[in-house]
């Protein structure tokens, strides 16, 4: 497993460097020394003895605004990438991503409804993420029901059911948008995704979910490798195909719903990152899944850093950045691979 060390270490290092850089950047220009002074000061126990208390405004900006945001961006990125890897492995479809089975549109419909109905007045700030999460999971159930009795689902039927449900909820979201009247259409912006203005509690929700699903997918990665041969072959090799499918899809959906409910729909990460990692590190899921988590975390972290930096005091929706940067990059990789294959 030398490869594992190279890629795992490489992407791990990339993520670490990314954290260091992204924490240091922001629209409020905090001197580099102060950024790190704040962070060292915050280390429990030895921190306060190590570094004198930094400027209060800087402390707020770095420790209370930037840090939770950086962490949430990483968690969301890792979640989407891992879920994407799971979907691609089970569905054996290069176009599969965390949103293939309609989770995103289901969650969006829930969020749109929560925003429009004024549920927040009664139930508080968590009503939008809560509604998104619940409808996201309900969508999966709906897709499964449409696709047929459990145990006999064909991949094509599943994808088709996902497309149908997606179209339906997409229309529902459009309806909600057309009904809403506001200066700033909150639903539209929710759809474009963001990790801004969120405190630690969002990370606290997503982290355990990510950890559990990551463990499940890594545990199933050997079976998933055999899936690449086709379901029949995998069955001959002793894989419980239906259970693997159910568990991996269910876990990936859960994780997707979690990520979508805290950050909105952030496109492209779940599609591109696993492909990217596969191009570099090969198709072995034992490596692909964890490395995708690292790469997805770095990707969304950088995308979010750009989202908050480029326009100064204004923000760009995160989902816009991930797609704007990701698409050309992915196209370039595809071209390059084709050339090397042909030449």
């Amino acid at each position: 497993m030398r490869k594992a060390w190279i890629y795992g270490g490489g992407f791990g290092l990339l993520l670490l460097v990314s954290i260091l850089i992204c924490l240091s950047l922001g629209s409020a220009r905090v001197p580099l020394a102060d950024v790190w002074g704040v962070l060292l000061h915050r280390i429990p126990g030895i921190g306060p003895r190590l570094i004198p208390a930094p400027d209060a405004a800087y402390e707020t900006i770095v420790a209370d605004v930037r840090l939770p945001r950086v962490v949430l961006a990483m968690l969301v990125g890792a979640s989407l990438a891992v879920a994407g890897a799971g979907f691609q492995a089970v569905l054996r479809n290069p176009l599969a991503d965390p949103y293939t089975l309609g989770v995103a549109s289901g969650a969006s419909a829930g969020a749109a409804f929560a925003i429009l109905s004024g549920m927040r007045i009664a139930l508080g700030l968590w009503s939008v993420p809560g509604a998104a999460f619940i409808t996201g999971l309900l969508t999966l159930l709906l897709v499964y029901t449409l696709a047929g009795r459990s145990g006999r689902k064909k991949v094509e039927t599943l994808i088709l059911a996902g497309v149908i449900v997606q179209a339906f909820f997409g229309a529902f979201v459009s309806l909600m948008i057309s009904l809403s009247q506001g200066v700033v259409n909150e639903i539209v912006f929710w759809l474009m995704g963001s990790v801004a203005l969120r405190g630690w509690e969002y990370s606290r929700v997503l982290l355990p979910l990510l950890a559990i699903v990551l463990i499940i997918l890594i545990a199933y990665s050997r079976q998933l490798n055999l899936f690449a041969l086709g379901e029949r072959q995998a069955m001959h090799m002793g894989v419980n195909v239906n259970r693997t499918k159910l568990v991996v899809l269910g876990a990936s959906t859960l994780l997707t719903a979690g990520a979508v409910s805290v950050a909105g729909t952030i496109g492209f990460v779940g599609l591109v990152v696993p492909h990217l990692v596969r191009l570099l590190a090969g198709p072995d899921n034992r490596l692909l899944v964890p490395v995708s988590a690292l790469a997805g975390a770095s990707y969304v972290l950088w995308a979010d850093t750009l989202a908050r930096l480029v326009l100064g005091a204004q923000e760009i929706p995160l989902g816009v950045v991930t797609a704007l940067i990701g698409t050309p990059f992915f196209a370039y990789l595809l071209l390059k691979r084709r050339q090397s294959a042909e030449g």
Binding site: A28, V65, R66, L125, Q181, R308, A313, E315
Partner: protein, 358 residues
């Protein structure tokens, strides 16, 4: 469904800008261009002269180089010393689209397409003649009883069914609806005031169109008195740094009514370096450390913006949060270009300088 609309020209402009980003910009631009071109042609053959009190807007030479959108609203402010009189019809007034609107007789069947226009028509005493309003017109209470002609996407058929002899519209909100109605030979007057003074002028113009000049002058005088009272009260007070949030996670910079009202009320918008509505960046807000926060409330949002601000990471360090200087302002007061705009000004001034204004 949802009850409230926070509408007004600039804001909606911003909203549409965002939509434009989603691919509708072209459509909009085309419809606007269509409007402009048409009105330019229309002014050539009709020398616009209003018989009664002189009106700078209508007397402006056709094809004048001045931007059409500001002319009608700005002009009447100059006529406020003239004694209001009964309007003499036929009357020709150039509106914000640059079109000469001709009224042959006093309008008896009025339809309003935006809450600001509804409020203005009622305020000048023409409420009984209003036959239909848009779905978001919730003030005054009687307006809610009127027939509905749809939301911002006006249902043109519903308007026609009411057989209006005058439609009051807001050019910033509905340029394509206005164009469509005119194609259908409906008389439309479209306002588009951009400043508080222009809003006051707009009230006077509507009063003139509806032959309610006396009442309109009273409303305008009250608005001016409120404005002058506030400006005088906060004149010597130190400017306070204020952060505005009237849509969750969004603030507003120069070129919007909120910014103008805040400035008049003796505050400095911490987002004053921005233009229009924009998604905030928490770091910039925290760095600017506002002393007062004003947030919008209406039937739909309730106190959600307040809750969001209090839970937002880092915001607890703001001077305004520490001193609990966080005040709700009724969104419909400060975003509708109608007669209650100065009430919004008073509300803002009370929040920013509670010691100076009561």
């Amino acid at each position: 469904m949802e009850k409230s609309v926070r509408e007004e020209a600039g804001k909606n402009g911003s909203w549409k800008r965002r939509l434009g980003a989603l691919g509708l910009a072209l459509t909009l631009a085309l419809s606007l261009a269509g409007c402009g071109g048409k009105s330019g042609a229309g002014t050539a053959d009709e020398p616009s002269v209003s018989p009664a009190a002189s009106n700078a807007a209508s007397a402006a030479p056709a094809g004048s180089a001045a931007p059409a959108s500001t002319a009608p609203s700005a002009a009447p402010a100059a006529t406020d010393t003239a004694a209001p009189a009964a309007t003499v019809y036929p009357l020709t007034v150039k509106d914000a689209t640059g079109t000469d609107v001709v009224l042959n007789a006093e309008p008896k069947r009025i339809v309003t397409l935006a809450p600001s226009e509804t409020e203005t028509a009622f305020a000048v005493g023409a409420g009984e003649r209003v036959m239909g309003v848009d779905q978001f017109s919730d003030y005054p209470k009687e307006a809610a009883q009127k027939a509905k002609i749809g939301d911002i996407n006006t249902n043109v058929e519903a308007v026609l069914a009411l057989k209006p002899d005058l439609v009051l519209a807001h050019n910033g909100l509905q340029p394509d609806v206005i164009k469509k109605l005119r194609e259908l030979k409906v008389t439309v007057y479209a306002g588009d005031p951009k400043t508080l003074d222009q809003v006051i002028g707009h009230v006077e113009i509507i009063g003139k169109l509806l032959n309610e000049q006396v009442k309109a002058a009273q409303v305008a005088d009250k608005m001016k008195a409120d404005r002058d009272r506030i400006v005088a009260a906060v004149k010597d007070a130190p400017k306070k740094k204020v952060y505005l949030e009237f849509s969750p996670g969004w603030s507003v910079g120069k070129g919007e009514f909120l910014d103008e009202l805040l400035t008049l009320a003796g505050g400095t918008n911490v987002a004053g370096d921005q233009k229009g509505w924009f998604e905030i960046n928490a770091e910039s807000i925290i760095k600017s450390n506002p002393q007062v926060i004003l947030y919008g409330t209406d039937a739909m949002t309730g106190n959600t913006i307040y809750d969001a601000i209090m839970k937002r990471p880092g915001f607890s360090a703001l001077a305004a949060v520490k001193s609990k200087d966080i005040h709700p302002v009724d969104s419909s007061l400060v975003t509708r270009t109608g007669p209650r705009l100065t009430d919004g000004l008073v509300e803002i001034a009370k929040a920013v300088h509670p010691d100076k204004v009561n």
